[in-house]
Amino acid sequence: MKAMDILGTAVGNSFRSRLRTTLTVLAIFIGAFTLTITNALGTGINNYITTQISSIGAPDVMTVFKPTAVTAPTDGPAPYEEGGGSELATNQGPPGSTVIAMTDADLATIAAIPGITSADAIIAVRPDFVEWQDNGKFQLSVSEFSAGITLDLAAGSGFDQTGGALQIVLPTTYVPTLGFASNAAAVGQTVSIGVTDAIGTQHLIDATVVGVQNPTLIGSGASTNNALTTAIFDAQRTGLPASTPTEYASATARFDAGASASQITAIKDDLTAAGFTGSTVADQIGTFQTVVDGIILVLNGFAVIALIAAGFGIINTLLMSVQERTREIGLMKAMGMSGGRIFALFSTEAVFIGFLGSAIGAGVAIAVGALVSNVLAEGFLSGLVGLQILTFAPASIATVFALVMGIAFLASTLPASRAARQSPIDSLRYE
């Protein structure tokens, strides 16, 4: 028999006992459906994270802080170091984490590490409010991690970091609250920012909105350019004695944008040796990816278990068809069909059943997934712009097909080789 004839005959045979085939296909369908959905979930979330990393960019920037000496929960506190910094609350790590405050001397140490071109303190600014044209005052939080970051802009052109103009980029969520008609309408407008200084006097600083940014995974605050950050910081410190040392929770270290992964690792190692911890944006977001991958792996594991169970269904189905078709097999052998082709006939039937199951499974998963994904994107997940929670990648769907058909083939080997070995005469005498 030619390969095409084997395929045609196998497909025909699988439709001969419709109920049995349907039930087997159903079992495979469940596995394939689950696997397609879990893969899509993984792809969707990871895609989002990846676009976040690339849209936030900052490939040449890392955040550096000075970790407190690690003590196990059962140990007492670490001994005090003369001249060591005090602890500061931080937005790094879990809530309540503290870091040792850094001083200008620390910045100099960081800047001196090979590979690092410059180190700047990340200065924490705490403005009171933002207001546009008497539409009311609203709390304003400024994203600390702004140096070097590429903003994912929904409107506007972003900062001009070189000039002295005071500029701000607002998150999309602020736009309607502040009274703007649209993202585009906000661009170019001037907003007032209120800041209270050390002795309780409130200052007003005017800044131009140069863009509207999509909320990101690492914060939904507004971003300010260097000039505005400095202006707010200075206003904040008005009235403090000049001798008060400046302390920073963290610093931004710049390195060569073309640095390879191993060079970045070397820089981090040097930082660790000097008592600091450095992490890039990719590191911070990458942690999410690891967690997501882990969860998807477990979910995929369940789907594969379902598929293996379905594999036993295939074995059962095929053993029954081999039994039923004993005479037909004998006849075909008597007519000169080789054992290998008999084997191919039955394994093709199994692979076809696998194909049907995965086609229906993947098809339904895509249909249901697209629906659910859109509903979620507009409802529950609307805060995460650009997150298509279920993303169906052709490669992962192809993998599902290959996996299911591979399992089906494996399942067919026992019944198919049994059929292939049958002696024609025993089959023909079979009552």
Binding site: M1, K2, R327, L331, A334, G336, M337, P424, L428
Partner: protein, 238 residues
Amino acid sequence: MTATVLSTRNLTKHYGSGDTRFDALKGIDLDILEGESVAIVGKSGSGKSTLMHILALLDAPSSGELVVDGHSAATLKGKALNSLRNRTFGFVFQQFFLNANASVLENVMLPLKIARMGSRERKRVAMATLELLELGDKAGNKALNLSGGQKQRVVIARAIVNSPRIIFADEPTGNLDSATGRIVEDLLFDLNRERGITLVIVTHDEDLAARADRRIYLHDGLLVAAIDEPAATAGRHA
């Protein structure tokens, strides 16, 4: 000159072993010539089917020699065996062994499909064969819906569709009423006469056996008397 297409020497076949051992064939010497029709006659259980299966290479003898068309059966394996089965033999069994849910045409095309003939060509050849057996109008029917006589004609069509040199028929009329059986017999002997296809018919029906060139009588696994019809075989054993 007529060649010997099937030849056996001291052929035996036993089933089981020890206490359950049963000797179905106890030493058969036989020569079947190209183009003749031979009836293997005997009571039920005498070993006729066993002998036919061995001659048709469907089963292996326990001992003895079998030469098919010049090839020693013991050395025939794999591809050579399969292509000999496919191109040299046609089978008509007492049970029809038709695929009930497939069409008549599909059933008849099966040997051609196995022989890897292209789909258009095999349809043409199978249709021509069905026409020959006056079954052309039944080509699209399911085998299931045919009468016994029609089914056996489909089986004959399937047996001759790839122009075999030998047809083996095991009780071909056993399941048919005598009138239908007669038609099927006529068909088989016509094929033997007109196309020179060697015909080996297994039967316990004396009337059917009488139409063959030669009868071989089997009794408990032994040839008892091979009565040659003088006219038909006069020159052959010279």
